[in-house]
């Protein structure tokens, strides 16, 4: 009598009707598992093409500047007017740290200043969307050589004032965003971006224009001071920035004005404040 079959886990074998039922269940479950695997894997947002050359050290020669953020400017021929052409490579440290500590240690140990010197640094490159950055790690003994600059550095120091601007974007940490992590932006990455920026990695504003293309801006305080600690509450969320924009060759730096960093509110932008106040009254 099939009805009388009884399952006990410690029996060697489950009764027929039970094992047949479970087999059906497992078949359904396996189908669901495979379908979910396919669906979830294919529905993820596309990862961007950023790259972090983990484990590969590259030597790069350029002129070092500590302001507005630590960078080396790598000469890349001359432009049609005969000016030095260069690529700016912001420097960052190991893990979730800025490069300032590593540079300060080198300067102290060698008792020299690297400012405006021609240096050869050994580090790990990361790049994405036309931007190149380099990680320098004290353990890799990053300083290969240092010498006085052989070229006229005035060319490299030319800046262009772009005036005051209001701009909307998302603050990211450039290390993760340009290559170390994917996704290196948005809510899932928020904690990490905050930790990186609090560790000294210079914050970058990512701005998406109407055609969907991205532009990137370094952000510092109104007088060029670091803003790392001040942006904590604004990372990985839409913000508006009121700033003085200055072009340093291939990077634009935003000098954020007093109270110039605000959370972006869709409602405030699209409905003027009178309308909001009025509807608030109506709701009451």
């Amino acid at each position: 009598m099939q009805n009388d079959e009884f399952y006990i886990g410690w029996m060697q074998e489950a009764p027929k009707s039970f094992s047949a039922w479970i087999k059906k269940y497992l078949f359904v479950l396996l189908t669901i598992i495979i379908m979910l695997g396919v669906l979830l894997a294919l529905s993820q947002k596309k990862f961007d093409s950023g790259n972090f050359e983990f484990g590969k050290l590259t030597e790069v020669k350029g002129i070092y500047f500590s302001k507005p953020v630590p960078v080396i400017k790598v000469i890349d021929g001359k432009d049609i007017w005969g000016n030095e052409n260069y690529i700016t490579v912001p420097l960052i440290g190991f893990g979730k740290h800025g490069a300032d500590g590593v540079i300060a240690d080198i300067e102290k140990e060698k008792n020299i200043s690297l400012e405006a010197k021609e240096v050869t640094l050994k580090g790990t490159l990361l790049y994405n969307d036309g931007k190149l950055l380099m990680q320098i790690d004290a353990n890799d003994e990053p300083l290969i050589s240092v010498a006085d600059a052989a070229i006229n550095i005035a060319d490299l120091q030319k800046i262009k004032q772009l005036g005051t601007t209001d701009i909307k974007g998302e603050i990211v940490d450039p290390k993760c965003f340009f290559g170390v992590m994917k996704p290196g932006e948005g809510k899932p990455h928020k904690d990490c971006a905050i930790r990186c920026i609090l560790g000294g990695i210079p914050p970058v504003l990512k701005v998406t224009n109407e055609e969907g293309r991205q532009n990137y801006y370094l952000i510092v305080g109104a007088d060029g001071e670091k803003m790392n600690d001040m942006v904590q509450d604004y990372v990985a969320a839409p913000v508006t920035i009121h700033a003085n924009a200055v072009e340093y060759g291939d990077w634009i730096v935003l000098y954020v004005q007093q109270n110039g960093l605000q959370h972006y509110s869709y409602i405030q932008e699209h409905y003027n404040s009178a309308y909001v106040a009025c509807s608030a009254n109506c709701l009451k």
Binding site: G9, G37, L40, A41, S43, K46, D191, C192
Partner: protein
């Protein structure tokens, strides 16, 4: 029979169970990882690991949480229940990989301890949209950890079944934390609605299964037994109970199982001393009432587990008059010998 009872090792069924868990996990991980690598070639290894393990664990969590109601709706699901703890421990191991990689990747090598970073990077605890979702995952992980390390029967006995059961009920809190961890985390980033739809379907499935199973049970408990005589309550006709099986009656909020065995009726408390399984849904095997959940056994005439086991449940008086079964809901002390009632 005590011998086969004590010899619960890794028997054939357990081995099959574990092999199925293992191979299903491999199938899922392989599907997810290979497809991501093919269709999203710019992936990073850490992200694929974080995502494949977390989604697999949530899937297993749904399976685990549905087994209880499924067995209540259909007894054929019992084989899933017997080794459910293996599923739980597997799920914990998998989600530990997710949590550990999460902490390593997002919080280590910074200017503060990774665990401090977990709670202090994002401090928008007062906001819904910005809420630090990783903290929710962390607390869920702690609950799963406590459940996994106490999953052995050693802890069941040491903590007492009541405390153990309470601890394991926290799985529902953990489930809620996980849902919020996903809703306030990755779902705010992904643009494809598939993720939120899957989470909602999962939650609806679990809630409906629990409701349907709960209602079925509650309906049974609601039956009133009005015919009373000298403490005895009329419950059913003799023929309504099958040989070697029982019927469960809920009187004054206590569930009592009345078993028919070799022309006699016996009544014992319905709640198994192991994990509270429904003894009345069991069967008499080798003269012992056998719990359907994990096979603990009790003698019908005294509610005691056969030696060397020491579990005992309450017994009750039953009597038969004119083919009608009368039950006295006053319990005797656990393990008290009762003669049973002759059917004829």
């Amino acid at each position: 029979m005590g011998a086969s009872y004590s010899a619960v090792g890794w028997n054939r069924q357990k081995k099959i169970y574990d092999w199925i868990i293992f191979s299903f996990c491999v199938v899922y991980l392989a599907t997810f990882i290979v497809l991501t690598a093919i269709f999203n070639p710019d992936y990073t290894f850490e992200t694929v690991l974080i995502r494949s393990t977390s989604t697999l664990a949530v899937l297993i969590l749904h399976v685990i949480l549905s087994i209880g109601p499924l067995t209540r709706l259909n007894k054929k699901f019992f084989p899933l229940l017997y080794n459910r703890r293996h599923l739980g421990v597997t799920m914990f191991c998998i989600i530990l990989v997710h949590g550990a990689f999460g902490i390593l990747q997002f919080h280590s090598l910074g200017n503060v301890n990774p665990f401090v970073s977990l709670f202090t990077s994002n401090t928008h605890y007062d906001s819904i949209a910005d809420f630090p979702f990783q903290a929710l995952g962390f607390f869920a992980l702690i609950i799963f950890f406590l459940m996994a390390i106490t999953s052995h029967d050693f802890w069941l006995h040491n903590l007492s079944p009541k405390i153990w059961k309470t601890l394991h009920m926290f799985v529902y809190l953990a489930y809620f934390l996980v849902v919020m961890h996903v809703m306030l985390g990755v779902i705010q980033y992904e643009t494809n609605p598939v993720f939120i739809i899957i989470m909602i379907i999962g939650a609806i499935t679990l809630i409906s299964l629990h409701l349907v199973a709960g209602l079925k049970e509650a309906r049974k408990d609601k039956i009133n037994y009005n015919l009373k005589e000298e403490g005895f309550v009329f419950v059913c006709g003799v023929t309504e109970i099958e040989e070697s099986r029982a019927k469960i009656f809920c009187i004054d909020k206590e569930r009592i199982a009345v078993y028919k065995h070799e022309d006699k009726l016996y009544a014992i408390h319905n709640v198994c001393k192991h994990q509270g399984g429904p003894l009345g849904e069991g069967k008499i095997i080798d003269g012992c009432i056998t719990c359907p959940w994990h096979g603990y056994q009790y003698l019908p005439q005294n509610g005691q587990s056969p030696p060397p086991f020491k579990e005992m449940v309450n017994t009750y008086d039953v009597k038969v008059k004119d083919n009608k079964v009368w039950l006295n809901p006053m319990p005797y002390a656990e393990g008290t010998e009762r003669p049973g009632a002759n059917i004829r």
